[in-house]
Symmetry: C2
Subunit: 123 residues, 2 copies
């Protein structure tokens, strides 16, 4: 039986890797073998920088509200909304006035997020 930790909590950074994505956007990253989860906390009105990466990404809005920009589209999202961002599609997010918590999923694993750091990675 593996002793590797497999149980986590959205409100507990234990087992995760800290990353500051941008001013007011912090995340805790939980890597697996085939996918990676990232619990992103956004301060009110905080926004990321537009970027893309080859990995597919899914986001789930857990708390608050946000505007999701990807490609030529923008979605206003609230709790329970989720979205898919195909690899290579430029995207960013801007939190609403109360901030937001977003669960991101990357598949395959984003190598740039395997160690603590800042920013959205290289590409």
């Amino acid at each position: 039986m593996s002793t590797e930790k497999t149980l986590f909590h959205l409100d507990d950074p234990a087992g995760g890797i800290p990353r500051v994505l941008a001013e007011g956007l912090t995340t805790t990253v939980f890597p697996g073998d085939q996918a990676m989860l990232s619990v992103v906390r956004l301060a009110p009105n905080a926004e990321g920088t537009r970027h893309s990466h080859p990995e597919e990404q899914w986001g789930v809005l857990l708390e608050g509200s946000a505007a999701r920009y990807q490609g030529d589209e923008v979605f206003e999202v609230g709790p329970g909304h989720f979205w898919r961002t195909p690899g290579g599609v430029e995207h960013t997010v801007k939190a609403g006035p109360e901030g937001a918590v977003i669960l991101d999923v990357f598949a395959p694993v984003r190598e740039a997020y395997l160690k603590p750091g800042e920013g959205f990675g290289e590409s």
Copy 2:
């Protein structure tokens, strides 16, 4: 710009594929290219059958409570708990007395879940 639907909601099956996993366990499956999301609704005390598959799986308990069995371990989970199930590890879940809603993530995509059906797939 792709016209493919990329925005969904946890409470809305639009854009997803229905599947009955077991008695009292129903899901809506949202496939991508590299990962697949599955929004599972469990009736009170409903339980799945123990199974495994080569794809990595993550689960996030969104509502209710459950017992998560995987390998030789069992976790009691409530809202906000999430867990990783490496490929090939046997697992199942049993809902608590109020039922549960669980968001599952598979990477890569589980081919068996790409069409409507019943059960946990072939392996």
